[in-house]
């Protein structure tokens, strides 16, 4: 349920300005934001990414102060990130922003309430379930207990009346996993980690064959070609 993530790199591979997305050891020196002012991105793309980067880790308008620590704790368990990670992705704040700005995706599993209601009810129910089992709210539990409780949600093994009309198992699949991973991988820090080039708008890719690389794509440091990759990544703009 909680993917074990490789520890964030330290040392030269992780050099990056504070506040800038972190740099991945697999794509040394690659910073997708180097493409910002290149032909790869246009004004619209820059606007969208700038908005995403402007979201502060504690910004929340949709979730109330009561719900906020719970949603943050859930996000931290589904995709754990080191506290000192550079360019840490503010997943909970991005979720808040998304639910506030566009409260519907235009489709949903009919067995679940609308996205905004589902999240609010689930956070409430999760805290109730946590109080029932441990006498503490969800965000106050240690990581092991949090994981165990989330696993019960994933299996649908939660029975408090607070879950009425909200099938926990479906909520976990459709909202927890879907929203949290999607928001994480919509952030430039995650793009740097996986060597993704960000929006192909307007410039896409022209070398489509397997194992080919456009000069504006991240270069992977396969064993023995770390320096080569670093040089190529310095020129992705």
């Amino acid at each position: 349920m909680s993917p074990q993530r490789a520890p964030q790199a330290s040392g030269p591979a992780a050099q990056s300005h504070t506040g800038r997305p972190a740099v991945s050891p697999r794509y040394p020196g690659y910073d997708v934001l180097a493409k910002r002012d290149s032909p790869s991105w246009n004004a619209q793309t820059r606007r969208v990414i700038d908005q995403r980067l402007a979201v502060g880790p504690d910004t929340h308008h949709f979730f109330c102060d009561e719900e906020w620590p719970t949603v943050r704790a859930v996000c931290d368990r589904v995709i754990p990130q080191a506290q000192d990670k550079q360019g840490r992705v503010p997943i909970a704040a991005l979720l808040d922003e998304q639910l506030r700005r566009s409260p519907t995706e235009g489709y949903r599993d009919a067995r679940l309430p609308p996205m905004t209601e589902a999240w609010k009810q689930a956070l409430r129910a999760l805290d109730v379930e946590s109080l029932n089992s441990h006498g503490h709210r969800f965000h106050e539990l240690d990581a092991v207990r949090q994981d165990a409780l989330l696993r019960r949600v994933q299996l649908g093994d939660v029975h408090d009346a607070a879950w009425e009309g909200l099938p926990a198992k479906i909520f976990f699949e459709d909202r927890v996993l879907h929203d949290i991973t999607r928001l994480y991988y919509g952030h430039p820090t995650a793009w740097n980690e996986i060597g993704f080039g960000g929006p192909a708008a307007p410039r896409g890719y022209v070398r489509m064959d397997f194992d080919r690389r456009d000069p504006w794509e991240a270069s992977e440091a396969r064993p023995g070609r770390e320096e080569q990759a670093r040089k190529e990544n310095a020129r992705v703009g």
Binding site: P39, P202, R203, G204, Y205, V206, R207, M208
Partner: protein
């Protein structure tokens, strides 16, 4: 001035070879850069097409009725390189998953492209052969000239009919490639039908003129060849427009020049149409006009 007249057909052939070589040079430079020169051999057409272009321009300016050994050598090398290139491209298609499938014909190395280099070489060689015969012509009477031209001891490339045949096959092949690529592009612009309809007509008429030797046929062929030559120019214009229509337009040229319609492709039609016209001139020269002489 008389020399200019005498070598006119040869220089016209040098010119069509130049157009083809330029098309090959630009096209292979762009496409092989896109292929990251993955195989070292991918540099070869750039070198040989540059030499062919240079030789052809010099040839087009050279009115001396003499075969030029270096030019002839370059042309032979170009034709040979083109043949080897056809093999490489077939290998590239064959080694991909699916082998000879529509997908690979659309997106692997273009199967017919190196043929343009073969044609540039053949046209160039025929230009040099024409000069060579031109020099033998000096001092001989018109009657012996015609006798020599029609005798079987002449190299086949000197024959206008053979040249017309080569040009016709080249035009048909180029039209087939345009058909494949424009089908891939779903003929989304009605103008995309032009290169798959006009050149095939020109190729058919030219081929028929080559086979039958009919003057009437060659008059019609001339007409369509001129239209095809114009189409080659117009095609570049359409492809420039095509690039502009891709996302980001010309400002996003580093993507769209590679991803959009190939700018250097349509002039191949012009080059082959010019050689077709030169071939018809040669046929006229080589066929004695009965009754007038």
């Amino acid at each position: 001035m008389r020399q200019l007249q005498r070598t006119r057909a040869a220089r016209q052939l040098n010119m069509s070879s130049a157009v083809l070589a330029l098309s090959v040079l630009a096209d292979s430079a762009v496409e092989h850069y896109r292929g990251s020169f993955q195989n070292r051999a991918m540099y070869t057409p750039l070198g040989i097409a540059t030499l062919t272009l240079a030789a052809s321009i010099l040839g087009a300016l050279d009115a001396r009725p003499r075969r030029h050994a270096a030019r002839d050598g370059i042309y032979a090398a170009a034709a040979l390189t083109g043949l080897v290139g056809l093999g490489f491209h077939a290998y590239n298609i064959g080694k991909r998953p699916g082998g000879l499938s529509w997908l690979n014909l659309f997106y692997a190395a273009p199967i017919g492209a190196p043929a343009a280099l073969v044609l540039a070489g053949l046209l160039g060689r025929s230009a040099e052969t024409a000069r060579h015969l031109g020099s033998e012509r000096r001092g001989s009477s018109r009657a012996t000239w015609h006798a020599r031209m029609s005798s079987s001891s002449n190299p086949p490339l000197a024959s206008g009919r053979v040249l017309a045949g080569i040009s016709a096959v080249g035009l048909a092949g180029t039209a087939a490639e345009a058909a494949l690529m424009h089908f891939r592009g779903a003929f989304h612009n009605p103008a995309m039908i032009a290169p798959v309809s006009v050149p095939p007509v020109a190729a058919t008429l030219l081929g028929a003129a080559a086979v039958t030797g009919h003057r009437n046929m060659s008059r019609w062929a001339r007409w369509w060849l001129k239209l095809t030559a114009l189409l080659g120019f117009a095609g570049v214009g359409f492809h420039i427009y095509g690039v502009s229509r891709n996302m980001g337009g010309w400002r996003n040229w580093s993507q769209n020049v590679l991803n959009g319609p190939p700018l250097p492709a349509p002039p191949s039609f012009t080059g082959l149409a010019l050689s077709g016209l030169a071939a018809l001139d040669r046929m006229d020269e080589q066929t004695p006009r009965r009754g007038r002489r």
